[in-house]
């Protein structure tokens, strides 16, 4: 064992909310470590506040006034005597300043060092770092070239290519070019558009990957020089760059590709001397060429699918690494056992362009039984506020085979009851019924370009409709009868207390 300082962790402050805060609280409890939650005004009754051993209020609902306030969070840790901070994902998880400040305070930051966070946080420095370790990048040119050089480079890269503005954003100054002939005009148009939009006409090109998949590798590295990967996750089911469904393993990854991509992922992490859990995100084209996209220097939303097929607890492993211990495992995980699928259950309306939905969750009854895991941060009675993201739960199922995991997911989605806010369970049900998804044939554009709710939703049968109509009618009827009773209180001859309890009985 190398000479690494062993540090004790007895109490962890979780600088987050929602399901990931719950996930980390549970990991700490499994390890017998105390927990401190933090909360904004609207989160007083949130699940993570209820389950933490201690809870500190840190301000108004807006993240910038609470969950993003480094000073308040560090102050909360000091006040409660926490010796470590886990940032979760989002909020301050990939903020190098925060990691630095936490360390400067003599606290343990459960995550990578500030230098690795900042190197991987900047797209350009990340590309430079991993390139030095031989990690393949999406072919393209540097910025600042003359048109002739760009055209020569494009011929070498092969079409189609994307012309992108250096100062770009929002699609401005961006062009898809399918052949050499159209390139000069496209460059001209893009430059002029970028010039007028951003005052900077500089452009570069990048190979356009058609039908590519988003596949990522889980990385773990400790302070003793060990870096391993824990297999891949398939995350191509996305909408507007938001992942909706993830699975492990990927139908697209064979043993050879897993080994090659795994080596690449380890090399990418080692290029910044990475320590703790992280993820290497890649695009993989139809011919199984893969290209580094970026590294996420934190625990991912979708980490449970990896845990379930490799029998590892990533959150606990993070804490172990942060303590300065060697990881439990020193070999990469090459053989997934069975299959795991995760559906992100979001408060958004799939029938109405996925508009987020806020309000009170009246009923939250999660599926149970074999092969089902639910990670959530809500309960019957909790409020979905507009201040934070719309994910309310993660539903993960496992099976010996992908088919079994899929069938379980269908069953679990049916069993899940959430009322009070609109949610995307109907989307997932339709997805699980779609032939392309079942066959594993999809890429990162598939949901947006080829999936519609209508296509995969068989209309209800006449019989179903009749049952639902009967239930609606009986429900309304009873409510009206009850209302009629209530406006005639004189007819009661029992005490108020008794009458109230009867009223409650009727309502049950």
């Amino acid at each position: 064992m190398t000479d690494v300082q062993q540090r004790n962790i007895t109490k962890v402050l979780i600088a987050n909310r929602g399901e990931i805060a719950m996930r980390i609280i549970r990991a700490c409890r499994d390890l017998g470590i105390g927990t401190v939650g933090v909360y904004s005004d609207v989160d007083r009754t949130a699940l993570h506040v209820r389950y933490a051993d201690e809870a500190v209020h840190i301000g108004p609902p807006q993240p910038r006034d609470s969950y993003l306030r480094m000073d308040k969070i560090i102050e909360a840790a000091r006040r409660t005597g926490a010796d470590a901070i886990h940032p979760g994902y989002g909020f301050l998880a990939e903020n190098a300043d925060f990691a630095q400040q936490v360390t400067d305070e003599g606290l343990i930051f459960i995550g990578p060092g500030p230098a690795a966070i900042s190197q991987m946080g900047d797209k350009q420095s990340a590309r430079e770092a991993v390139r030095r370790n031989g990690v393949p990048l999406i072919p393209g040119t540097e910025a600042g070239l003359h048109d002739d050089d760009v055209i020569a480079a494009a011929e070498k890269i092969g079409f189609p290519v994307m012309v992108k503005a250096v100062a770009g954003g929002g699609g401005k100054g961006m062009r898809v070019v399918n052949d050499l002939e159209s390139l000069p005009n496209a460059l001209k148009a893009a430059r002029s558009e970028a010039e007028s939009a951003f005052g900077n006409g500089d452009v570069y090109i990048e190979k356009m990957l058609v039908g590519a998949r988003h596949i990522e590798f889980q990385i773990l590295a400790d302070m003793h020089g060990n870096t391993i990967h824990v297999g891949e996750r398939e995350c191509s089911i996305q909408r507007r760059n938001q992942k909706l469904v993830e699975e492990s393993p990927s139908v697209f990854v064979d043993e050879d590709l897993r080994e090659r991509m795994g080596k690449m992922a380890i090399a990418a992490a080692e290029s910044v001397n990475y320590v703790n859990a992280g993820t290497i995100e890649c695009l993989v084209d139809k011919d199984k060429n893969f290209y580094f996209l970026e590294m996420n220097t934190r625990l991912q939303v979708e980490h449970p699918v990896t845990e379930l097929v490799h029998g590892i607890d990533l959150a606990k492993e993070q804490i172990r690494i942060a303590r300065g211990r060697p990881m439990t495992y020193t070999e990469s995980f090459l053989k997934p056992r069975g299959w795991a699928i995760e559906c992100r259950i979001n408060a958004e309306d799939p029938y109405n362009n996925f508009v987020p939905s806020t309000g009170k969750i009246n009923v939250f009854s999660s599926p149970k039984g074999p092969g089902v895991r639910v990670d959530s941060g809500v309960y019957s009675g909790s409020e979905i506020s507009p201040y934070y993201d719309s994910m309310i739960a993660k539903l993960i199922t496992t099976g010996d085979t992908r088919q079994e995991a899929l069938l379980r997911m269908r069953r679990a989605l049916d069993e899940f009851v959430i009322m009070g806010v609109k949610h995307n369970i109907p989307f997932h049900i339709n997805l699980m019924n779609s032939v392309s998804f079942i066959a594993g044939q999809f890429d990162t554009r598939w949901v947006e370009e080829r999936f519609t709710m209508g296509t995969y939703e068989s209309g209800p049968t006449e019989e179903d409709l009749e049952l639902v109509a009967i239930a609606a009618t009986l429900h309304s009827h009873r409510r009206r009868q009850l209302a009629a009773q209530v406006v005639a209180p004189a007819a009661r001859d029992t005490s108020n207390w008794k009458w109230l309890s009867r009223w409650e009985r009727i309502r049950r």
């Binding site: 309306d349 987020p356 806020t358 019957s380 109907p426 009967i470 049950r508």
Partner: protein, 165 residues
């Protein structure tokens, strides 16, 4: 009691008889309908067992069955008469309300414009996302109650569309 229940644009005539049995489109049906907890219900008809979560707000009954949501309108005789007189029976409302608090980023239409069902009318930023609000029906914009830059509460009326005759 007689009710007219509209669901997915289909109309069911349902009468609740004195003995608790139902006449559904003139067919006698025996039902076993129980409230389990808050808005959870169990319905058994002819051995078929289904569980529903039911909520009623503003005259619309929402029913969730096996992950699928249905919206029903249940009208008693008086309500049916009124709805027929106003001509609002089974017609979707042309009012677009804000589904959550947020910031109006863009208003794509003005009063007097014609829109088709599904056209994007307003972009609302909320929960870190830009959300497109679409026209629920085809018609002419009769009112635009907000402008870009304005913050709105949940359920604020944003745009009203008068359906084409």
């Amino acid at each position: 009691m007689k009710y007219t229940t509209i669901i997915n644009n289909k109309t069911f005539e349902i009468e609740i008889q004195r003995d608790g049995s139902l006449l559904v489109n003139d067919k006698v049906i025996h039902v076993d309908f129980l409230n389990l907890d808050t808005s959870l219900y169990s319905l058994i008809i002819d051995n078929r067992s289904i569980e529903l979560a039911i909520d009623e707000t503003d005259g619309i009954t929402e029913l969730l069955v096996n992950g699928r949501l249905f919206e029903a309108q249940v009208l008693d005789e008086r309500a049916l008469f009124m709805a027929n007189r106003r001509g609002t029976l089974g017609v979707s409302s042309g009012e677009i309300k804000s589904p959550m608090p947020g910031l109006i980023v863009e208003v794509r239409i003005g009063a007097g414009d014609t829109v088709a069902e599904g056209d994007t009318v307003i972009i609302l930023e909320s929960m870190k996302m830009q959300n497109e609000l679409k026209a629920p029906i085809s018609g002419t914009i009769s009112e635009v109650a907000v402008k870009a830059g304005q913050t709105v509460e949940k359920n604020t009326s944003l745009v009203t569309i008068t359906p084409d005759e």
